[in-house]
């Protein structure tokens, strides 16, 4: 085999090794656990956790979930069972395919093998990509689909059926794809389609067909989504929530009011302070997704960013190269982060992550412009940074203590193993919803769910067989007779039973060594 092929195979093997080596890590967040447990339930019964048969829209605590991710997990769990391998393997595989797709993309864009290999290498070792290759999520699916779409569209021969299929899967993967796909397809046809350009778009060729299909697909899916119960609400709350940003609207009114109080002309005040500010804010929010801190600085309060810090040097050189010469590539990060235009202020990690293949190409080009000694120095520093990051396991557990509560598994296993007892668990033991964890770590069975909800939106379930979730309004009392009930209480609920004579059976600590769960008996629900 050719040396070049060996090199790419080595990188793919490295990608697989990094992802597979520590397969059971990281611990799931609540929403990831929801997909994991749902996948198993579907694979067993063909129904989701709420008892609905093969639904197209799933429930989560934040929004409706589109189906691709859940069915992918279901398929894998059907083959491998209810375990880490079953949940994570599809994403590990997608994570390993991505370096290859990105390698091809980089070659297509720059025409340089060296850049392609470097891009594949960066994609293989990127800590963030490794992370999203080990958990159920939509982004790794989208990354693969967009890379594939890019490669197919930019080829000489276009297979319309494949493109339509990819677009169809994308639209059923994430709502991000609804907004992003059309400009993505347009930009790829316009900039990277071989021997085409605007002329081709003007005639009714395959390119125009794809564009029209993307547009029609978007319109159909959008209208269909709006017609379902809570569809509008879902869009307004999660995708174009800048228009319902009360703080922003209050701010406009407050500043305008101060002007009026100062005796300024009301017409002037209306001209200066009005809802056009929402657009300016959206514009700034969109651009802020692409500020260097998004890639090299902290995100979600985590200390380390998507990239290793030292790679900012080749990144800047790469950016300068693309600005000087071929600026086409720079359009993609703008396209992928565009949905932030309609959203409230904040960093949207899922949007930023979609730009990674393109940012990797920029970094790789930057590296290719540097001298060998500098490249080696940068790579050595990057490697050291990476090793140090990976070796900070205890640190990582502590900073993800709230979102990835590794300590919770034991609590739930112990609770579920209580024989012939009714169990109550405080619903605020963890951030988010504890239900998916209970479903995942116990042998949860889909019962005939009494509430028939076709389109559950932000639906929270409180009764899980012998386990009952305790809400904040729940009150306790001392038992008049013997009670078998056992309660896993948070501090909130423990404070409620100060006056009652209870028996403390056990205490669990979190990763920060704080006492978080108190196992209590000898009390009854009021």
């Amino acid at each position: 085999m050719h040396n070049k092929s060996w090199l790419i195979i080595t990188i793919l093997f490295l990608a697989f090794f990094i992802r597979f080596y520590n397969l059971s890590s990281p611990f799931f967040t609540s929403e990831e656990a929801r997909v994991a447990s749902r996948g198993f339930i579907i694979s067993l019964t063909g129904r989701d956790e709420l008892g609905r048969s093969f639904p197209l829209l799933f429930n989560s605590l934040t929004d409706y979930q589109l189906p691709v991710e859940s069915y992918l997990v279901a398929l894998s769990e059907l083959l491998f069972g209810k375990n880490d391998l079953g949940v994570r393997l599809p994403f590990v595989i997608l994570g390993c395919i991505l370096p290859f797709l990105v390698y091809k993309m980089a070659q297509k864009i720059t025409g340089q093998f060296q850049v392609g290999i470097m891009t594949a290498f960066l994609t293989a070792i990127s800590p963030t990509l490794v992370l999203i290759s080990n958990i159920p999520n939509q982004i790794i699916i989208l990354l693969n689909l967009y890379s594939l779409l890019f490669l197919i569209i930019s080829r000489k021969k276009i297979n319309r059926a494949v493109i339509i299929l990819i677009l169809f899967i994308m639209m059923l993967t994430s709502k991000i794809a609804w907004l992003v796909s059309l400009p993505f397809v347009f930009a790829t046809i316009y900039y990277f389609r071989e021997s085409t350009g605007l002329q081709k778009l003007q005639s009714f060729g395959k390119e125009k067909f794809i564009l029209i299909f993307s547009m029609i697909a978007f319109v159909i899916i959008f209208i269909a989504f709006l017609r379902i119960p809570q569809g509008k609400r879902s869009i307004l709350e999660n995708n174009i929530n800048i228009f319902s940003d009360i703080t922003l609207i209050n701010g406009i009114n407050q500043l305008k009011g101060q002007g009026l109080d100062a005796g300024l002309n009301s017409f002037l005040e209306r001209v200066l302070f009005n809802k056009i500010h929402l657009l300016f804010s959206g514009f700034l929010n969109w651009f802020s997704q692409l500020s260097p801190e998004s890639f090299f600085g902290s995100i979600d309060g985590m200390p380390s960013g998507i990239y290793i810090g030292v790679l900012i040097i080749p990144f800047l050189i790469g950016i300068a190269y693309f600005i000087k010469g071929n600026r086409k590539l720079l359009v993609y990060p703008l396209i992928f982060t565009f949905p932030a235009f309609f959203m409230q202020f904040g960093k949207y990690k899922e949007l930023i992550l979609l730009t990674i293949p393109f940012i990797n190409i920029i970094v790789a080009v930057g590296l290719s412009k540097l001298g060998k000694k500098i490249v080696y120095s940068i790579l050595i520093i990057a490697l050291v940074e990476l090793l140090v990051t990976y070796s900070m396991t205890s640190f990582n557990k502590k900073i993800t203590n709230n979102d990835r509560p590794t300590w919770l598994k034991q609590v739930i296993i112990d609770a579920a193993s209580e024989q012939n007892k009714k169990i109550g668990i405080s619903d605020n033991i963890v951030n988010g919803d504890i239900t998916p964890y209970i479903q995942w770590f116990t042998d949860f069975k889909v019962d005939n769910f009494s509430e028939k909800i076709d389109f559950p939106y932000r639906f929270k379930r409180y009764n899980l067989g012998k386990i009952t979730l305790l809400l904040s309004e729940q009150r306790f009392t001392s038992c008049s007779g013997f009670s078998d009930d056992i309660f896993y209480l948070s501090k909130r609920d423990l404070n409620k039973i100060n006056e009652i004579n209870f028996k403390l059976e056990n205490v669990y600590k979190d990763n920060l060594n704080n006492e978080v769960v108190f196992v209590v008996s000898n009390i009854c629900l009021n």
Partner: protein, 557 residues
């Protein structure tokens, strides 16, 4: 069409800049902030006695309120005091004058940096645009009007580098080198971060322009030695003075509470790993903070922190400059004639942001004004580039776009002026220490009626905050003789107590203080159980600027 005379346009821009800086300068900002009042009273003290308020003779660093200020601005103010007297305007005049002169300095700097030929009309246009943006820039107006000492440093840096560039490009005599280095040596005394940034920038300048400098490197030796000699006092003081070291430590990024928490998480019990992990976290955190200064929301949205309404505020630059800035970067990278100048601009921006990345505050625009100045210049380049593109458009389209750009700029400028003059004092009453002036004046009105005046500067709208420089406010607004203040001022026995004359600035503990006799207590609701105090004892209520919430009460016992 007619050709505009460059000088005439520049003078017009300068007049506009002066108008925006001097218009109602005594009224806006609405009150002297603690930086202004401390520098003003120290300047008065220097002018009268040659000593600062703590009795230090001709200090190189002013202790002030424990923030150890660089000396340049205070000494300059003392000269202004000698000329104009002790009016409040005195402290603001130097800032407004330096700010106005910066308009000319930017014009000259851009011409020197970009100009292969001084007469090139495109360079003159770019320089004029840069001067115009400097004249109207939010950060320039904000810092010039509040008399921030960093402004003088920027002015001197621009002049210093312009002189150096003139020397290189026009092959002028070595005297220009001496002149530029002399200017730099003054500039390092204007602001602490300049003591580090200016030498770094000089080094970068030498590296970039090495081909012009190295053939005759021997003639630069003496100027460099002289420069080092002039730098040495501030460098030695920074290293050896424990107070200055303490001040440096207190503003260092490690003071950040979030970073402190993260560092705690790195502890493993192994000293080597602890140090390794701690430095890893520190590096990530600093880099993150440094890079966050380039966030468009900060630069164009709310970076000056003039309101409490999130994004709705004012950034150091106008939002309309964002596209110009992008065009400017593209132009600088694509052009081939001024590559050295472009490199210097980029390094200036990269290095200039460092201080903000190393300090505990999430953002500190006052530390990186030099970067904003350069971003202004880049946006002026972009503006020129954009206009040259528009000229290529069809007639009707360009006729449509010019007025549109003009209207957008006008609206954006009006929005900033509204935020600055109307909203800022209302929204940030507390951070400008309003109503400390009224309190000081009232305290002096009551001076003869009581034995002691106790002032507790703990106050705040949403959370308690200790206002600094209360003794400066009291001394300055009471026209208190500095020589007397130097003798009288001392620490007291009470919690955070300082004393001079009849004034005791300290924590008020009502359980004990309610028993005092013939005393005026001025304190906020955070210190006084106002519901339990008889109304006839409350002789005055001080409100925040918006006139709605009570800030302090004067209670006579």
């Amino acid at each position: 069409m007619f050709k505009l005379n460059t000088r005439l346009v520049l003078i017009t821009i300068l007049l506009l800049g002066c108008f925006l800086r001097f218009y109602k300068l005594d009224q806006f900002p609405v009150q002297l902030n603690h930086d202004e009042v401390t520098q003003l009273y120290d300047a008065i003290s220097i002018a009268h006695t040659g000593k600062d308020v703590y009795g230090n003779f001709m200090p190189v660093i002013f202790k002030s309120v424990g923030d150890y200020k660089s000396p340049f601005y205070t000494y300059t103010t003392s000269i202004f005091y000698r000329i104009f007297g002790g009016d409040e305007l005195t402290i603001r005049l130097p800032g407004a004058i330096f700010g106005s002169l910066t308009i000319l300095a930017v014009f000259w700097f851009v011409l020197s940096l970009l100009g292969n030929e001084q007469s090139s009309s495109s360079n003159k246009k770019i320089a004029l645009y840069a001067a115009f943006f400097t004249a109207i820039a939010p950060f320039e107006l904000f810092f010039s009007r509040k008399s921030f000492e960093n402004g003088a440093g920027i002015l001197l840096m621009l002049i210093g580098f312009s002189v150096l560039l003139m020397h290189i490009k026009n092959k002028l005599s070595t005297r220009w080198i001496y002149l530029s280095l002399f200017i730099f040596s003054i500039a390092v005394y204007t602001y602490f971060s300049h003591a580090i940034i200016i030498p770094l920038l000089l080094l970068i300048f030498i590296l970039i322009f090495r081909k012009h400098l190295f053939p005759n490197w021997k003639k630069y030796l003496w100027p460099l030695i002289i420069l080092l000699a002039l730098y040495s006092p501030i460098i030695i003081l920074t290293i050896t003075n424990p107070d200055v070291s303490y001040r440096t430590k207190t503003v260092f990024i490690k003071q950040d509470v979030n970073l402190g928490e993260l560092i705690k998480f790195t502890k493993t019990g192994n000293s080597f790993l602890d140090a390794l992990f701690e430095n890893r976290v520190l590096w990530d955190f600093s880099l993150s903070r440094y890079l966050s200064q380039f966030n468009p929301i900060y630069l164009f949205g709310n970076g000056l922190d003039l309101t409490n309404q999130g994004i709705l505020g004012a950034g150091p630059l106008y939002l309309f400059q964002l596209p110009f800035l992008i065009f400017g970067v593209i132009y600088l990278l694509k052009q081939t004639t001024q590559t050295l100048g472009a490199k210097f601009i980029f390094f200036w921006i990269i290095i200039g942001m460092i201080p903000s990345g190393l300090t505990f505050e999430r953002s500190s625009p006052h530390r990186v004004i030099m970067v904003f100045t350069m971003l202004n210049i880049v946006s002026a380049i972009g503006f020129y580039f954009l206009l040259s593109i528009l000229r290529g458009f069809r007639f009707y389209l360009s006729k449509l776009l010019y007025p549109l750009i003009f209207i957008i700029m006008l609206l954006n400028i009006s929005f900033f002026l509204h935020i600055y003059f109307i909203n800022y004092p209302n929204e940030k009453s507390q951070s400008i220490q309003y109503p400390f002036e009224q309190i000081a004046r009232f305290a002096w009105e009551q001076y003869d009626k009581v034995d002691t005046i106790v002032f507790d500067p703990l106050y705040g709208i949403h959370a308690p905050f200790i206002g600094t420089g209360a003794h400066y406010y009291l001394a300055y607004f009471g026209n208190y003789p500095p020589e007397k203040f130097q003798k009288e001022y001392r620490s007291g026995k009470g919690e955070r107590e300082t004393i001079f004359d009849k004034f005791s600035i300290r924590k008020v503990d009502w359980r004990e203080d309610q028993n005092l006799k013939n005393v005026l207590i001025i304190a906020s609701p955070w210190s006084l159980p106002i519901a339990n105090i008889s109304k006839d004892k409350i002789i005055k209520t001080f409100k925040y600027y918006d006139g709605k919430k009570d800030a302090f009460y004067a209670v006579k016992l």
